[in-house]
Structure formats: structure tokens, C-alpha cells
Symmetry: C2
Subunit: 231 residues, 2 copies
DNA sequence: GACATTAGTGACTTTTTGTTACTAATTCGC
DNA sequence: GCGAATTAGTAACAAAAAGTCACTAATGTC
């Protein structure tokens, strides 16, 4: 008979400090960028992710929405949880546990407030160690789930050209895609529908605008993919 | 100029009660099963997920490992975080926030302790609402990530036949796979290597045993898949 | 009007996947 | 011992999907 320890179910819960840390991502100058907030004077790093403790009876997503709205001026439409972090790494507010949440917002050409700034993921300033971990995980999660959920569409305005969409995919995947293949696959997916509007960017032929409008499609009955392991 | 609210970064973190809730999954009688613990007398439901509050300075995975070990007798080798849950749903210990963690263990034919029992995911007893949510998310996460991480291999002993492996994939995906296609894809993936052992199950031709031994492979340069959306 | 530039597509090639049908090695019933 | 049943493993072909190239289309620039 194997040794068994006492069951934990009887212990009382302990009190912990909890933070919700939000990674707001948006395409900026042909790169994915995160919105950071200037840290108060005296902090060890100059910049932090927007974060706060959830209020009593406030859900995690609600908290993320409130936090993102406070730095953006309006609430993003899309959130995805990145995970809970409680390694020994330092959090700017010394929270025991952080819940990381990524928010995706379309590219806009508004200027951020004086307290905030967009940083390309490839050129982040020094962040508290836990914040750096969360940003990295957020980017990895976005890349990993881009073809499982409509992430890419949340980084675009409600109507967009197919070239824009391809650009976002290339941004997320970090590699160029072939135009004809991309469009053929998109066609087959019934995820977008054309509008009757066209977008002219100056030079070149104007492009038709599409909107995200997923329709029912025959269930994908494919084999297993062994080639997607991320290890 | 858009209205801006005050930045949250200055607020103090609040104290919250936190639980780690573990979903131990294993193949059992050709179905995925979760290990549940008999609840103490007086609880509203008869069964709960194994859970506990993390100890001071204990990481979330460490806590999950300790909790799983206390019910299994030995620590599982594989964990994956399912997310943080803080909706209004009731937790057996009334934790404000739960971190759900799924642990995968190979099929074993040992009998669980009197306090624990395996339940197929399709025939779970009544659980506290938050526990039900966590189990459902855990199963969804396992299904969703099966071709991104070596989940399936963690549900098998260290050596296994290709039919076993295919069986686990079918369990996770919930649909039958074609033998020849499955093997061809696996071949191309360099994820397993043959041992020189053979497994005879009584009737039928004996099967060669393989082990999980991922080798370098040429990076997967594929197009985008629009057909994997789970919405 | 020639040309640079971006959008969009047809058609061909190559690769991958689905499927069928076979061969191989074992146990069981007789 | 021998044929049927059972499970493992594979070759070969068919179908589908993805990669590629080369073109046509519609605009602005000079």
C-alpha cells in the first residue's frame, strides 16, 4: 500500500494579494506593440503594464476591461486570459499572484496620453520581472491561438482589406505568407464577407473592404497535426 | 480630447482568498476520467476536485503538484494551467479566485483510495458550480492543445504501441482517426522512436513499443489554418 | 501615355491527406 | 495442425489542399 498524505480539502483558504495585469496589444508601424504606463516616481522601473487589484465582486475580465479603459479611453472588445503567475518574480505592486490578460485593439492613429506609450514588442523598456514574463507569454499566446480564435480580426477595424488582414497574420506569425494561398484558404473558411466599399490608399489599385462575419461551415474533419508542437 | 480616468497603478493591492483546483485526468475504460475526492460531511456536494490554498512562497504548479500527490500517492509529471476563475460561481472553500490546473497521468490499473474515485467526464457527479466550470475548461484545453503540446504522450506510459497512441488521440478528439494517415503523419513528425520491445496483448499480432523522443525537425512552414476556429 | 504600385485571380505543380486493400503475426476453436 | 478471427503494419492510389507563377485590373505619378 502506497503512502498517502492527508487530504488538503480541509484546510482553510489563505489571504493573498492579487493583481490583474493587462497587456494591450495593437499593430503599430508594422509591428505588434504593447501599451505601457509611466511608473510613479520612485518605482524601480520607468514603465509598467497597466494593472490594478480587482475590486470586490468584480470578475477578472471586468477588472481587465476597467483597467484597459482607464488607459485607452474606451474599453477593448476582446480579452483573453494568459494565465496566473506566482513565481518568485517581482511585481511592481508586490502582488503575490498576477492574472495576465491580453487585450487586442485595432490600430488607431490617435496619440496616447502623456502617461502612456506604445512600445514594439521587440523594443520594450525594462519592466518588473513578472511584467516581462507576462508580456512574453501574452505574445506567445497570441501567436499560438491565432488560428483557433479570431484574434487577428480584433487587431483590425470593423472593415478591412484582405491585404490588411494578411499583414496582421504576418505580424502575428512573424513570417511572410503567399497572397494567393492566403486568400484561397480564407475564401474556403467563410469567415469574412465583402462590403460594397472600397479603400484607396493613394497609389495602386483600390482594395475591397471586408468584414468579419463567420458563417456556418462544414465541420473540419481533419487528421491530427503533429507538426504544431511548440516545445 | 477623450475623457480619461485616473490611472489605477497607484491603488494598493487587496487581499483575496485563493485556491488551486486540480483536474487530474487519465484514460479509464476507453474514456477520459477525472479523479474526484469525497467531500467532508456537511458539504453541499458529495464530491470535489482536489484543491487547496497555495502555501506561502509556493508556486502555483508546486501547489498543484503537492495537491495531486496527496490524492494519487505520487506526483504527476505534467501540468498545464487552465486559467483563473473568479466569476460569481461558488467554490467549495469559498475562495474568491481559483486557479485551475490540469494534471495528466497515464492509465494505471491501481484502485484509488477510499476517499477518491475516477469519474468519466461524461458522467460526473454534481460538483460545486465553479468546479464544474473548471473541469469543462480543462477538458476543452486538453482537446484544444493536443496538437500543440505532447499532452497525449502524458496520458500513456513511457513506452506504448502506436495503437495506444492513436486511441488516446481519439479519446481527446472524440472522433475516430484513420490508421494509415495517423501513422504517416506521426512518422513525418519525428516525435517517437521505436524500442526493441514488443507488446503482445493476447490475440492479434504483437505491436512494437515506441517511446516519446522528439527530435529536431525542419520548421513547419505552413500556411494559415482558418478552419480551426472553435467559436 | 508609360510606368510604378497595389489588388485580385486562373492555372499549374507539388505536397499532403484520405482511403482501400493488401500482407504479417499472433491466439483460439476445433 | 489448421483455418478463422484478430490486431499490426504498409503500399499504392485517389482526392484535396497548399505552394507557386504569371498574368489581368485599377489606380497615382511623372
Amino acid at each position: 500500500m502506497r503512502e498517502r498524505h492527508s487530504l488538503p480539502m480541509k484546510s482553510a483558504v489563505r489571504r493573498t494579494t492579487l493583481a490583474v495585469d493587462v497587456v494591450v496589444l495593437s499593430p503599430r508601424d508594422d509591428a505588434l506593440a504593447a501599451l505601457l504606463v509611466r511608473a510613479p516616481a520612485g518605482a524601480r522601473e520607468r514603465w509598467t503594464l497597466p494593472w490594478d487589484a480587482p475590486r470586490p465582486d468584480e470578475g477578472l475580465e471586468d477588472a481587465a476591461s476597467r483597467i484597459a479603459e482607464s488607459v485607452l479611453g474606451s474599453a477593448p472588445a476582446f480579452f483573453e486570459q494568459v494565465g496566473a503567475f506566482s513565481d518568485g518574480k517581482r511585481h511592481p505592486g508586490d502582488a503575490d499572484v498576477s492574472v495576465g490578460i491580453v487585450a487586442l485593439v485595432p490600430a488607431r492613429d490617435d496619440t496616447p496620453t502623456p502617461e502612456t506609450e506604445w512600445f514594439p514588442l521587440t523594443a520594450l523598456p525594462t519592466l518588473a520581472p513578472r511584467h516581462r514574463t507576462i508580456v512574453e507569454r501574452a505574445a506567445a499566446v497570441a501567436r499560438q491561438r491565432v488560428d483557433q480564435s479570431p484574434l487577428a480580426f480584433r487587431l483590425l477595424p470593423s472593415t478591412f482589406t484582405l491585404s490588411d488582414l494578411q499583414g496582421v497574420y504576418e505580424l502575428l506569425l512573424g513570417r511572410p505568407l503567399h497572397k494567393a494561398s492566403f486568400r484561397r484558404a480564407l475564401q474556403a473558411s467563410y469567415l469574412v464577407e465583402p462590403t460594397d466599399e472600397w479603400h484607396s490608399e493613394g497609389r495602386g489599385r483600390p482594395a475591397q473592404l471586408f468584414r468579419f462575419a463567420p458563417r456556418k461551415r462544414r465541420g473540419a474533419r481533419r487528421g491530427v497535426r503533429f507538426d504544431l508542437f511548440t516545445e
